[in-house]
Amino acid sequence: MKNKKLIWILLLLALWQAVALSGRVSPLTFPSLGMILKALVSSIMAGELLSQTVFSLVIILEGLLIGTLLALVLAIVSRTGDTMNSFVDTLITLAHPLPGIALLPIIILWLGTGRSAIVFIIVHSVLWPLLLNIIAGFKATPKLYSDVGRNIGLRGIKLFYDIYMPSSLPYLISGFKIAWARSWRALISAEMVFGAVGGKGGLGWYIFKQRVFMDTAGMFAALLLIMLIGILIEEVFFNKIEKQTIRRWGMAEK
């Protein structure tokens, strides 16, 4: 499977290069791979791109942490009874369809244009899909498991931690995958709409800056970096977690 992916990527790159060199497109719209790589290397050497990537990743991690904590709390709250269940359900129904970017003008009014505004948008984009997945995971836990848990004396948080959590882990992991992708999008689009956060800015701001200074190769370099980070997280990080947990436990296909 992996080898096939690599072949596809190489083919796409070759196609890209062929178009770029065909002479039918301007390098201002369609730079060649060499130009993109050069832009990538020179931006990294200047220290700018890496520090902006780190800035983006840190801010995403912060949003992911807060979002995950909130999602767990809300998920547990929703399990405490019908009233709370319907409350959390209503929250999800109301907030989930709202794109973070649509909230931007209001967030600027509430929190200004600082770092907290971006974190807020990331938390919003992470919280709801994650919460939905966790709740679905809880619901899919066979009654037999929780009965066994209660039988051996597990109650409250202990029951949740030993039975519901491991049993709903496949849902949790796929929830994280969605949350991760959403937070990237939220961060980058927010930065492209209202600019640098806290003076420095992350990858979205970097792309925007390349746009206003007409560095097309630089824009593609940033896109390439975003893809690379995405592949790294997906193929290395999530894969590893899945291998060590749900695949080892026989809960998912190898």
Binding site: K209, V212, M214
Partner: protein
């Protein structure tokens, strides 16, 4: 086997898309003009309303596009969707430096621009500190370059204020300044400039002319090489219509104010006040390109300066060093 068939089909589709997308017929029956927001573009509203270009060039459809920022106009001109674009000099120079085939066709307006602050005790950019946030349209905009020029002269480093910038369109920047929260200064142009200055708590601490150290043309008209070459008649008519529109503002002021008041949804009195503001003028003369280019090259915003005016202006342009 299955995959290779699918792959071939996909490749075919791609090739088809590429070959159709590039083959645009050379059509001179249409002229597309792109402008931005604000009173600095007033002659274009006159040209639009009185159909001056249509009169000079019968049988041609004129499309007007109002775009949110200069980067979008540049991209549209690269994609050959726009023939004539209006913008400030620095964004034009960035495009020229990057190899865009376009030149200035003429000036449009000069206008007062300035940095307004809501923080008491700030009398010049020297008094700004790292907690201040300056809103302006975007890096590389004329506002940003003017601020950097002042920063170079007064603070000794053109990039000293760069970490305090927040990118905002003029109306958003005005709202943020008036909200008196994190944004403490706004580099803007009319009508936002005069609206902000009506508030007692706000003051202008830097004008465009101070920053530049002289006069400069605020907005210029730029046309692509292909439009200039393939449609010389359209180009000539455009220049003529532009002259007529500017003359109309000065010779038929009452009528012009009426048209502009409708176009900008402002009262006639406000428009008249604006037209009488010191520093506001419309004309096709171009000023200040060299100062902008020298500064931008010195500070790495562009890689080269034009060796002579022919590189960046069509022959007909009325240019003053």
């Amino acid at each position: 086997m299955k995959i290779s068939k699918r792959f071939l089909a996909g490749l075919l589709v791609l090739i088809m898309i590429l070959s159709t997308g590039c083959a645009k017929p050379a059509e001179t029956k249409e002229i597309t003009i792109a402008e931005q927001f604000g009173l600095a573009y007033a002659p274009l509203q006159i040209m639009k309303e009185l159909k001056l270009l249509e009169k000079n060039q019968p049988g041609v459809t004129i499309n007007w596009k109002q775009m949110g920022n200069t980067a979008a106009i540049r991209e549209a001109m690269i994609a050959k969707e726009v023939d004539i674009g209006f913008m400030a000099i620095p964004p034009f120079l960035i495009g020229w430096d990057k190899g865009m085939e376009w030149k200035i066709a003429g000036g449009l307006s000069t206008s007062p621009v300035g940095l307004v602050t809501n923080r008491s005790g700030v009398a010049s950019i020297k008094d700004l500190n790292e907690n201040d946030r300056i809103a302006l349209p975007q890096p590389g905009s004329v506002q940003h370059i003017l601020l950097s020029m002042a920063s170079e002269r007064e603070l000794g480093d053109s990039k000293k204020l760069d970490n305090m910038l927040v990118t905002m369109a003029h109306p958003d920047g005005m709202n943020a300044l008036q909200a008196k929260k994190d944004i403490t200064a706004h580099f803007t142009a009319p009508p936002y400039l005069s609206q902000e200055l009506k508030d007692q708590g706000n003051r202008m601490i830097l004008s465009g002319e101070q920053a530049m150290g002289g006069e400069f043309t605020f907005i210029v008209g730029v046309t692509s090489q292909s439009f200039y070459q393939d449609n010389p008649q359209g180009y000539k008519s455009f220049l003529k219509a532009l002259d007529e529109a500017i003359a109309y503002i000065y010779n038929n002021k009452t009528e012009a104010v009426k048209i502009l008041s409708k176009a900008y949804e402002m009262s006639e009195q406000e428009i008249e006040e604006y037209l009488d503001t010191e520093g506001v003028s419309y004309g096709t003369e171009v000023k200040g390109v060299k100062s902008f280019a020298d500064f931008m090259q010195r500070n790495g915003y562009i890689s080269k300066t034009p060796k002579d005016r022919k590189e960046i202006m069509w022959d007909e342009v009325n240019y003053e060093e």
